[in-house]
């Protein structure tokens, strides 16, 4: 990863931090972006101190769509790869009652992601190089009662990445969709998670870096998830609607 600069969108999440550290360890320079510049600067300093790479923080707000063109054109040097790691889980119950929250979830996970990745895709396409990684979710494989606002936004994002992959294939630009499953992170503190299905951020990060290297299309971090979601997506709707999964 030497002489490669990677942009991490949503760089304060646990998965993003773990990914940035592995990439930096392998010699990649980094743009770290999110809303919390103070935290970004600390992590950038950490990457510089530990790994001797050029890591810099830059402010980015996924929902401030109008700011994206300036944000991207302001990056100098331009990234050779992008990892989109931002996401908003929200709370299903609240999202049902409060459209503002539902909208925040959708605008972050889908609209914001599409808005910035279109700029990235255009740039990579023009330069004929680059790679794109999007962290989506198993929740997007099928809508369920207890998280369908989040799930549908991720479903949209997964479909988007799939289309983007097809479009960029001709230019040799790989697009990787990552579905981490349960991850023990800041988002899930206090929730009881089944151990076998739960990855930690480092595990996700290693899977991402491996996926980049092997030019993978879609990865489930814990392979069991591929099986589970394979089953879940094949349950007939007639039956599925009666289940509490």
């Amino acid at each position: 990863m030497h002489n490669t600069r990677i942009l991490i969108l949503g760089a304060n999440s646990d998965i993003a931090v773990a990914t940035a550290r592995i990439l930096a360890q392998e010699g990649a320079d980094l743009w770290l972006s999110s809303r919390n510049l103070e935290e970004l600067e600390k992590e950038a300093a950490n990457l510089r101190t530990r790994y001797g790479v050029d890591a810099r923080g830059v402010r980015f707000d996924a929902r401030d769509f109008d700011s994206h063109p300036d944000f991207y054109s302001g990056l100098d040097p331009k990234p050779d790869g992008v990892v989109l790691a931002f996401g908003l889980l929200g709370d299903q119950q609240t999202s049902q009652k409060d459209f503002d929250q539902a909208r925040a979830v959708m605008e972050t996970n889908y609209t914001g992601a599409v808005c910035i990745l279109e700029l990235v895709a255009a740039d990579f396409d023009r330069r004929g190089k680059g790679f794109i990684v999007g962290i989506s979710s198993v929740a997007g494989d099928r809508g369920r009662a207890d998280n369908y606002i989040y799930g549908s936004s991720k479903a949209g994002f997964t479909a988007y990445l799939s289309g983007l992959r097809q479009r960029l294939h001709a230019s040799g630009i790989p697009v990787l969709t990552v579905k981490p499953g349960f991850v023990a992170t800041k988002m899930t503190v206090g929730k009881p998670l089944p151990k076998r299905l739960t990855a930690d951020p480092e595990m996700v990060a290693r899977a991402i870096v491996k996926g980049i290297r092997k030019r993978k299309n879609v990865i489930y971090v814990k392979p069991l998830w591929r099986v589970i979601m394979g089953v879940i997506t094949h349950i007939p709707e007639k039956v599925f609607k009666k289940l509490s999964l």
């Binding site: 300093a45 101190t49 530990r50 800041k186």
Partner: protein, 435 residues
């Protein structure tokens, strides 16, 4: 969740709040009631145990390294293992490191830890330039030897009771290699052991393993290990890869470690060393962190856990003091798998720092019947010779025994009170000892 120190005794129910960043830390602290910081859980007893603890590991960023001076600034949750992994290949090493690299920087400050070079380099706190902490009201406080110096002296060795240390700046030292040239001297009794330490007081690193079950004329027979970094040129890149460990399983049957097996181990370990003195070259991990190669080595003591008992006697106690204590242990028949003896240099001025000029002995005992009585007897002998107990290892010492060993305790208490720290930062240990 269940929480314990490295000795796995005691085990308590506690609520852990992870410190994800400085702001979270500040917000949470004000609403939390009394609490104590919890690093990597390597203090042995109840120093970091309380109903509510703040988990410091997420704060693990290195902020800055000043190549010209060796000053490293990092967050308190950074592990020594990370520092060694990051900086040894660049030719830098910790000025002071204990026998494990799986400790956090914050924990190292709080226990004012020391290592095999205490007689030359002092404590970890002596290598610290300045600290950033969170006080009782959630406010950020800076301290160093020149600024808030009282707080600084109370914090290094203060067992996390003076606030939450969230950032520290300390000096690393240049080393020429990742190889230690090690000399092992086999001694026949305690007098010879002490002599070996005194004779080699200029060697940077020294420590002795004592056969604590040897009696009579062999009392105090040891393997004294001396070490120094190999090589001259301190300005080269160093090839260092951390060694991977073997994990001791959770179900390890504790009965395998009993007084008979310990006795056999001690005899064999002593017997296998060459007579007189022998030399060999070992890596940094093998020399400084031999037990880290057995991950979760504390599990060999089984479910009941272990108690580490570490005390220090001033030089004035001489061979006599240590002899009397070793006799007491040998007679009890309760063996310690590892008994580690070491010569210390002068004490620093930190209120509750453990080291003082003299000899310290650290013993690992499996928690068992008759052990409490033995330890009480040892306490009395430690006091008789004006020694003291190491808080980072302790889970049981009485307030009276503790207080007599630490003459600056009142200054520490007064500072805690005046800053309102005693109403916010409390551990089971501090409640037990009235710290």
């Amino acid at each position: 969740m269940e929480l314990s120190g490295w000795g796995r005794h005691p085990v308590i129910q506690a609520e852990m709040t992870p410190a994800h960043n400085h702001r979270v830390l500040q917000e949470k602290i004000s609403g939390m009631g009394t609490l104590i910081a919890y690093g990597y859980g390597r203090s042995y007893g109840d120093s970091a145990l309380a109903k509510q603890v703040v988990g410091m590991r997420p704060l693990d960023r290195m902020i800055e390294f000043e190549e010209s001076t060796g000053l490293l600034t990092c967050e308190a949750g950074v592990l020594f293992a990370d520092i060694v992994k990051t900086f040894l290949p660049r030719g830098w090493f910790l000025k002071v490191t204990p026998g494990t690299k799986y400790i956090t920087v914050g924990g190292a400050v709080a226990a004012d830890i020391h290592g095999k070079n205490h007689h030359i380099a002092g404590c970890f706190g002596d290598t610290v330039s300045h600290l950033k902490m969170i006080g009782a009201g959630g406010e950020t406080v800076h301290c160093s030897r020149d600024h808030n110096s009282e707080l600084f002296r109370a914090t290094c060795g203060g067992m996390g009771l003076t606030g939450i240390i969230f950032e520290a700046a300390f000096y690393l030292t240049k080393v020429p290699s990742a190889t230690i040239s090690m000399t092992t001297i086999k001694t026949r009794d305690l007098v010879e052991t002490f002599e070996a330490f005194e004779k080699h007081a200029d060697t940077p690193y020294s420590v002795a393993w004592v056969d604590c079950l040897a009696k009579g004329g062999s009392l105090g027979r040891s393997l004294v290990m001396l070490g120094e970094f190999e090589g001259e040129d301190a300005n080269t890149d160093i090839d260092y890869r951390p060694s991977n460990g073997t994990t001791i399983p959770k179900w390890f049957p504790g009965f395998l470690l009993n007084n008979a097996s310990i006795s056999v181990f001690n005899k064999l370990y002593y017997a296998k060393a060459q007579n007189g003195s022998s030399k060999k070259r070992v890596g940094v991990d093998a020399f400084f962190y031999p037990l880290d190669r057995l991950l979760h080595w504390n599990r060999i003591y089984g479910k009941s856990g272990l108690i580490q008992y570490q005390f220090i006697l001033p030089k004035s106690a001489g061979v006599k003091g240590m002899e009397e204590i070793l006799q007491e242990i040998a007679q009890s028949g309760i063996g310690s798998f590892l008994a580690v003896l070491k010569l210390y240099g002068p004490a620093n001025d930190h209120y509750l720092s453990f080291p003082m000029e003299g000899y310290s002995l650290a013993l690992d005992f499996k928690v068992q019947h008759r052990l409490p009585e033995l330890l009480d007897r040892l306490d009395r002998l430690v006091l008789k010779y004006s020694g003291r107990i190491y808080l980072a290892k302790d889970a049981r010492v009485s307030r009276e025994v503790f207080e007599q060993g630490y003459p600056q305790i009142e200054a520490f208490r007064a500072l805690r009170k005046s800053l309102g720290l005693d109403r916010k930062f409390r551990s089971m240990q501090s409640d037990r000892l009235g710290l």
